[in-house]
């Protein structure tokens, strides 16, 4: 995919021209903040991450080879910064239990033995939104990022793979896991709320 930033723009950035930097920051801050919020960062941390992302991009302009869209490239830097930020508390937990629980929902013929429960409204209520937002906190950083980029930003698989540095197969697993975890969590919260 061709890049959306010209060689002239890159030169202007290298020369530190005011207008060039303002253009870069004005065009991409909103996306970087949105991705950071979706990853669960606070407003202050999201802004710091966006700032560090621009600083890292500007300090290594030569590394940007123009093979990807600048947005994809910047979100890739942001993702790595966010992973560093979370490194200490970040652990990719095993999905075995969730996967097992999901498998147990079907009988040998592949029919539901424990059918899905939980909300089925076609219009989102505030309560459901709140429950889903709470459940999203339980996703890992890579799951959250992959899911947000796909569902909200409508990024292509190729771009998301570049941003996260994963293969297409890994991306499918990330999205599968994110969806299964969110749904199972939603059902649990919904059903327990009903019986409180």
């Amino acid at each position: 995919m061709p890049t959306d930033i010209s060689k002239d723009d890159i030169r202007a950035l290298k020369e530190g021209r005011d207008g060039a930097m303002a253009e870069l920051v004005n065009s991409h801050t909103q996306t970087l903040l949105a991705v950071s919020f979706a990853m669960g960062f606070s407003q202050a941390d999201a802004e710091e991450l966006a700032q560090e992302t621009f600083a890292a991009f500007l300090s290594a302009l030569d590394r940007f080879e123009g093979r990807s869209q600048i947005k994809t490239y910047l979100v890739g830097i942001l993702y790595n910064k966010a992973a560093d930020f979370r490194r200490k508390s970040y652990r990719e937990e095993s999905l075995d239990k969730i996967q097992d629980d999901f498998e147990k929902r079907f009988n040998e013929s592949g029919l539901w033995s424990r059918p899905p429960l939980g909300p089925e409204e076609s219009v989102l209520t505030g309560e459901i939104k709140e429950l889903i937002a709470q459940c999203a906190e339980g996703l890992t950083l890579s799951q959250k990022t992959a899911f947000f980029l796909r569902e909200s930003e409508g990024e292509s698989s190729e771009d998301i793979c570049n941003i996260l540095g994963v293969s297409y197969t890994n991306l499918r697993v990330l999205l599968y896991r994110a969806r299964i975890k969110l749904r199972e969590c939603l059902e649990k919260k919904w059903e327990s709320g009903k019986h409180d």
Binding site: A38, Q51, A55, W112, E151, R179, L186
Partner: protein, 83 residues
């Protein structure tokens, strides 16, 4: 014949989970739609996943107040300018 070709609930829910419910080849797509029409549980499962997708789209939006974004841009630019 249709019964033999019809995907199972497990297969339908797995297609939903990988986001490939309607990218399947024509015949399979038709059978998946038919299964969803006939199976209340799979329909609920699929609707819940749609609902989750819609919500994820909205999670970041309320925080993106234009004033917040504008102020962030100004601070970021100030920080990036060579001192």
């Amino acid at each position: 014949m249709i019964k033999r070709l019809m995907p199972s609930c497990r297969e339908v829910s797995e297609k939903v989970l990988v986001g490939e419910l309607f990218n399947a080849p024509l015949l399979q797509r038709g059978l998946l739609r038919l299964h969803l029409m006939l199976c209340e549980h799979c329909r609920r499962f699929s609707r819940q996943l749609e609902m989750i997708s819609k919500t994820v789209e909205e999670i970041a939006r309320p925080q993106l107040d234009p004033r917040v974004v504008k102020a962030a841009k100004r601070r970021i630019l100030e920080h990036l300018k060579p001192k």
